[in-house]
Amino acid sequence: MEDILTTPISQTALAHFEARLQNDEKIEPKDWMPEAYRKTVLRQMMQHAHSEVIGMQPEGNWVLRAPSLRAKKILLAKIQDEGGHGLYLYSAAETLGMDRTEMIQLLHEQKAKYSSIFNYPALTWADIGAIGWLVDGAAIVNQVSLQRTSYGPYARAMVRICKEESFHQRQGYEIMATMMKGTPEQQAMAQDAMNRWWWPSLMMFGPHDADSPHTEQSMEWKIKRESNDRLRQKFIDKTIDQAYVIGLTIPDKDLKFNEETKSYSIGPINWDEFWSVVKGNGPCNKQRMTHHIKYHEEGRWVREALEAFAKKQIEMN
């Protein structure tokens, strides 16, 4: 009796939370969770949502110049999917107690990040191929793993999103394959895109495990299910052969195939570049944010009108 009265509620709640994690059960919005867990998941989901939305910019840069009716339809549908992922992730993140407006505010104040990969420019049509094939390809490896993340709404969002991602990667690979079968100019364009996007795609998985201080806690909470290096290796092993099939060269002179482990080992990643882009000094950081803020501001009158209209409707009823 004494015991029950003196034990703080959070102690039993914490035990309950940990038991759920232990049994691989999902944590749901109504469940008690440690504040640090809530913050970590919220941050990750918000950044994931922002990444989907900012990612619309480099691809949107080619939507008006896509070279066939078919290419136009595919690219538009793909970008639309990404926007849909953004919407879906924003509402899933809202279950943790922050609304979309505030998340966008944090993005604009540069207190919330998005994937650094979108701070590279989409210079030629081949970049649209490289983005779909490599960037979505890397995202898939990460998102498949996150289907088993411990926060229920996030895990379910990933299941839904992963269904669309394989189409994204295929359309990108198809663009590359078509160009590699094309004129010498097209082949050069494809290889150039490969050279520029290969290393940034590998950086998408984040620093090496040894230099990734938050990984351990995230793994304990089962937010993260596999380490950065492990996910990166999966991506490398499945992608390199795809490159060879269509005649692309991997821009890595140290690349080796290990017969024993049946996997590739790569040369050193340029982490200075990675951190420089993360800290805001990539080629498009400024452009992406300026664009997002500009059109958010230009749409303000529409959102205000919508709110005013809704208020009038309520008053009338």
């Binding site: 619309m56 070279p67 100019e185 059109y295 209209f309």
Partner: protein
């Protein structure tokens, strides 16, 4: 001009209108006032691309030339396009884009409804196929215009301005040429009567929004005579860039 040639050219009128409209709406990608609308506008753009393709592919056999939908879209110049001028008019702000979509979709709804009763099987099929999407575009744009008209003072005045500006492109929708004459037996509509129906519906809707129709008599016309505004050249220039720069390449 033979009947088949008339069908070819008549269908290009709608194919080109759909294509240019699609291209314009795709400009909103990553620029919408809210994410939901970004997606809705790309969705409408996608519908129009699909319709353009369907109209091109239906037109091609009537033209009797060796060509593809992509040839028609990417290898013709500004004096070879048949689209209505409203399609190439710049997007402007969100109110103006919604006004363009609304005024055009009321018109296309009437045309496609008539075509869907045509005795000519291809026209009939295109009418039936396109109608559902066009009706959705009309619902979407009218719902937005209504909300904006009854939103804030700013949004109401932007819609009013949009109506004023886009109005000058509407007579163009009712211009006709020799194709209409040659196909009169299978089009199942008469353009003057259709204009009355269109006008009555638009007037009634604008009344609900709190606006009267513009008094302006200033109208620009010429789309189906291949006389365009300066805007079209820029739209095509951007759209056709890769096909023109690498004429031997396949994408």
């Amino acid at each position: 001009m033979t009947t088949d040639q008339a069908r070819y050219q008549y269908l290009l009128r709608f194919a080109d209108t759909s294509l240019v409209m699609a291209q314009r709406l795709a400009e909103w990608c990553s620029r919408g006032p809210i994410l939901e609308e970004d997606l809705a506008l790309t969705n409408i753009s996608l519908d129009y691309f699909g319709q353009a393709e369907a109209f091109y592919n239906t037109a091609i056999p009537f033209g009797g030339k060796q060509e593809t939908a992509d040839d028609l879209a990417f290898r013709r110049s500004e004096r070879e396009y048949f689209n209505f001028l409203i399609a190439e008019a710049d997007n402007g702000d969100y109110a103006r884009t919604m006004m363009k979509i609304y005024l055009l979709s009321v018109y296309l709804e009437k045309i496609y409804t008539a075509l869907s009763t045509s005795s000519q099987p291809e026209l009939n099929m295109l009418g039936v196929k396109s109608l559902k999407e066009i009706m959705y575009h009309k619902r979407h744009s009218s719902a937005w215009l209504f909300r904006l008209a009854h939103g804030t003072a700013e949004s109401a005045s932007r819609v009013q301005q949009a109506l004023q500006d886009v109005w000058s492109y509407t007579d163009d929708l009712f211009s006709t040429d020799v194709c209409d004459e040659l196909l009169s037996g299978e089009l199942n509509y008469e353009i003057t009567a259709m204009k009355h129906v269109w006008l009555a519906e638009v007037e009634e809707f604008m009344k609900q929004c709190g606006f009267v129709l513009p008094q302006t008599t200033y109208q620009i016309q010429g789309g189906i005579k291949q006389m365009h505004t300066e805007a079209l050249g820029h739209v095509l220039c951007e759209m056709q860039y890769l096909q023109r720069a690498y004429p031997n390449a396949k994408w």
